[in-house]
Symmetry: C2
Subunit: 336 residues, 2 copies
DNA sequence: TTGCGAAATGACAACGTTGTCATTTTGTTA
DNA sequence: TAACAAAATGACAACGTTGTCATTTCGCAA
């Protein structure tokens, strides 16, 4: 009964119980060394006895910061989980908690709307996990006092971004071919309007041109295996085609099926590399070598970037996280 | 230059700019109908011009609540993702944000430690996502003013829990067998000390006894396919064995392999059901019927339970989320 | 003992909101 | 036009911390 009088125990209650001033209790929490041991013990005992827990709101109000980073999830699935895991670990390491909101199914969320909702919450900075285009991407301006990092494959005019290095990944794959004696690399693209596809194509083109090779006309795909199959049928008839880079694994699989149907062997007749390293999930004993992006690292970098920018929210940086080539046996070394 | 004078725009600044009192600005935000339209417009204009955003800390301090639910992740993987998705959606629907902390790799986290960390954060209640035993499970007491829900398969003495209905799932599987003419059901358990396994065994036993069937001695497994294989070899020699319930899919697969090696067919000679419905991920064309638990629903229920308990944190409830039988073709209907 | 500098502690304001209650303004009726 | 109730607005305190600065206490040398 008597213990029900007050809802929450405040520092003042502790101070009274311990026979010290409010400020001394505050000091016990924030700068324990400046308090005499005997006093400190008395305060600790009082805190224990009363079940004191510091009030987050009051503390944040006074300090002007929260110790939380906001995370906006536009989608929660697949690789995103690894990314969140990376964010969460990096946050824990730096003493930050995460505040999360999620786009609801069916809801159309813009960056402005997400930002508005986030800035009502206890956050010092925020991370947008954006795997899809949104309407206001280019026009969006982040709150001036809230460091904002966007995880996306596009470059943003004012916000810091963290991206997979799609271009570099494509370059890496091409060099992998060329270093193994291939004289040229054909490319099967994803949907024309896709930024990922464009980046990957750009990297492919650059890699060839660097070596003084004239890139052949890219084959237009649409991300699906069927379009890869069509491309594969065309490529099977090209005598100089020994290496194919497909903008994703599904199309790479389509290419491989077509080559097989045309009586060609992968990798003996034609070598193939895909992107995303996801074929092994659906195809047992998959041989496809693939460029995989490190989603977890993406999360870690994004969080670090936010924390680094807390003091200067308007700073802007662009971080590229390199991909990794997952080697299987779909590429033949022609030098052997 | 002139705009850099103040760091944050407060209601007071808005009030001055709009030529009204502080309180009127507050009213425009919280009870717009009580403010004359002309005044409201003036205030809105001032807010817009100054870029005002309400201060979360001050607001929470005054209101005594945060509008955030804490989520403690002990592990982030597999089914947990669906669960978090459920929590996040349910939270969004009820106007709550989530504050997340995560056990770091290698760190040994107890409920008490997790609770201590959470209660320093802006949360009105919390959810522990506990898929593993922790040392202080039974002795843990949640803060009296913070509604706490634990997602776990065990019952907790003082906290509300949300669990998969493992026992019910096992019962359901048994009844599925019995309703199809099977006279008995053999059981292959998981590790002896596992609570999941114990619950599943309990449900199996109860289902048989309800029908007046004497449960045969359960076969001891260890969750892995190998132990299922050993059990399968034993079961193959029992003429009365037409139905096997294995405590997980891996062991069920082991059982099926053993039966096949002994010249028996699934389901023609022996029917099998597993748990978790995960075999299809690794085995193409899997025929195994399996009891699957609805992780997403678990998250939704947990969040709803927290929100429902905000006013009475010490209330305690136990929610069971039923499993679903995913039918494939590993069970033969003997009545046919 | 006294005096003194350093260490420990305390009084009070401030952070930016919202609740309470008082005051002013508005619109309506006599 | 006066009187009045209702609507709109305002003054001020309070939420529970931390920073600033003043005060007290301590330990040690004279």
């Amino acid at each position: 009964m008597a213990t029900m009088d007050k809802k929450n125990v405040s520092m003042n209650d502790v101070a009274i119980a311990a026979g010290v001033s409010l400020k001394t209790v505050s000091r016990v929490i924030n700068e324990p060394d400046s308090v005499r041991e005997s006093t400190r013990d008395r305060v600790h005992a009082a805190m224990e006895a009363l079940g004191f827990r510091a009030n987050f709101a009051a503390r944040s109000l006074k300090l002007g910061r929260y110790g939380c980073i906001g995370v906006v999830l536009f989608h929660l699935s697949g690789g995103n989980v690894d990314m969140i895991d990376g964010i969460a670990d990096a946050a824990a390491e730096r003493g930050f908690a995460l505040t999360m909101i999620k786009k609801r199914a069916g809801e159309k969320m813009t960056l402005a709307e997400a930002s508005r909702r986030m800035s009502q919450l206890p956050v010092d900075g925020m991370i947008f996990n954006l795997r899809q285009m949104v309407d206001d991407f280019d026009t969006f301006e982040a709150p001036k006092d809230l460091k904002t990092v966007i995880i996306t494959s596009m470059e943003h005019p004012t916000c810091s971004t963290v991206s997979d290095d799609q271009e570099g990944g494509a370059r890496m794959a091409c060099e992998y071919f060329l270093n193994r004696g291939h004289k040229n690399v054909y490319f099967v693209s994803g949907k024309k309007e896709s930024l990922s596809s464009q980046c990957r194509m750009k990297g492919w083109r650059a890699a060839l041109e660097t070596r003084g090779i004239e890139p052949p006309a890219p084959l237009q795909g649409d991300w699906n295996a069927d379009s890869g199959y069509v491309a594969g049928l065309v490529l099977a008839d090209k005598p100089d085609c020994t290496a194919v880079l497909a903008a994703n694994d599904c199309m790479a699989n389509g290419v491989m099926m077509a080559l097989r149907d045309k009586g060609l062997s992968v990798p003996d007749d034609v070598s193939v590399i895909g992107f995303d390293d996801e074929l092994y999930k659906t195809i047992p004993n998959s041989i496809l070598t693939s460029v995989k992006f490190r989603h977890r690292e993406l999360g870690v970098r994004a969080l670090n970037e936010v924390v680094a920018g807390l003091e200067a929210p308007s700073s802007r940086s662009r971080t590229l996280v390199s991909g990794v080539l997952v080697e299987r046996s779909s590429v033949k070394d022609l030098r052997a």
